[in-house]
């Protein structure tokens, strides 16, 4: 029964993440790939409420299906999204697991955003650019934007987690 319920939750969270990711892709942005990463909110919620395995599954499903929707499936954009998502999930889980009460959801989200960006820059460097100078020039800008976006995401996630925990308590 719990297994089934877990699957149901994962499916629901994945659907939310895919929806958010797809809508976010429609928003215009000054630089391609410079997005808010609101889908990370869902990963964070899954991590806090259902644990690492659920969050990891949600990330895998989200990157796979939204890349199919956006038509970037086997390309570098998919690999960047996948690598960033996995890195963010693992890093956030490690921090929660190793030092549980040092950071709130905001800090965890910022850490996730940081690793997401770092891995994405690294994959982009390996696959697309292969020229060190522009990567070095642009990476602090990307990490700065990621920190700001991560803070906003963390605040939203904290809000959702607090409300969800209140709802889940009676059951």
């Amino acid at each position: 029964m719990t297994q089934l319920q877990n699957k149901y939750q994962i499916a629901l969270l994945s659907a939310f993440a895919i929806g958010i990711h797809s809508i976010e892709n429609l928003l215009p942005s000054p630089i391609p790939w410079l997005r808010f990463g609101f889908a990370n909110i869902i990963t964070l919620i899954a991590l806090y409420i259902y644990g690492f395995r659920a969050a990891f599954t949600v990330t895998l499903i989200r990157t796979f299906i939204s890349s199919l929707i956006n038509g970037t499936f086997p390309g570098p954009a998919y690999l960047m999204s996948l690598g960033g998502g996995i890195a963010a999930t693992i890093s956030m889980w490690l921090i929660i697991y190793l030092i549980p009460h040092l950071f709130s959801a905001v800090g965890i989200s910022v850490i996730g955003a940081f690793f997401h960006n770092t891995i994405q820059i690294f994959i982009a460097y390996l696959l697309l650019i292969q020229c060190l100078e522009p990567v070095i020039l642009v990476s602090p800008l990307i990490i700065l934007a990621g920190t700001i976006a991560g803070t906003i995401n963390g605040i939203v996630a904290e809000f959702v987690i607090a409300n969800l925990k209140n709802q889940l308590k009676p059951t």
């Binding site: 391609p32 009460h101 040092l102 950071f103 709130s104 905001v106 800090g107 910022v110 850490i111 940081f114 697309l128 650019i129 020229c131 100078e133 070095i136 020039l137 990476s139 602090p140 800008l141 990490i143 700065l144 920190t147 700001i148 803070t151 605040i155 904290e158 809000f159 607090a162 409300n163």
Partner: protein, 129 residues
């Protein structure tokens, strides 16, 4: 639970982390901009060939052998001018001091260009979609 409460609930480590990352990124941006900022340089072409690359920051006086004779240019206070030229109209000399763009003497076939001048036009090194 409102925004105020969430902000109050953030731990000290959160704030330190965010502050550190922002300061770190800003300092990196400033640092890299200083390192990679292109120093303005002067490219001098004579009869289609690049003969000199000079820094705009150093005062200098150069003689260039062109098609008709010798052109003399002067670099001073981050500006360039033609001092003498064997051409007829002396349009290049009349342009006076320049700190950007280029000065071209067609009769003598001498081009003095400030900044980047590439023969093949604008080079594209990557396109991403």
């Amino acid at each position: 639970m409102n925004l105020h409460q969430i902000v109050r609930n953030t731990t000290k480590a959160d704030r330190i982390l965010i502050l550190f990352l922002i300061i770190f990124c800003f300092s990196l941006i400033i640092f890299f901009n200083r390192i990679f900022s292109n120093k303005p340089s002067i490219h001098i072409y004579s009869e289609g060939k690049e003969v000199y690359i000079l820094s705009l920051n150093e005062n200098n006086q150069v003689n260039i052998k062109g098609r008709l004779g010798i052109t003399t240019i002067e670099i001073k206070d981050k500006k360039v001018r033609f001092i003498s030229s064997p051409c007829k109209n002396k349009l290049c000399i009349k342009q006076g001091w320049k700190d950007s763009g280029s000065i071209i003497c067609l009769p003598n076939n001498v081009i003095v260009s400030i900044g980047e001048y590439r023969k093949g036009g604008i080079e594209i090194d990557a396109i991403t979609k």
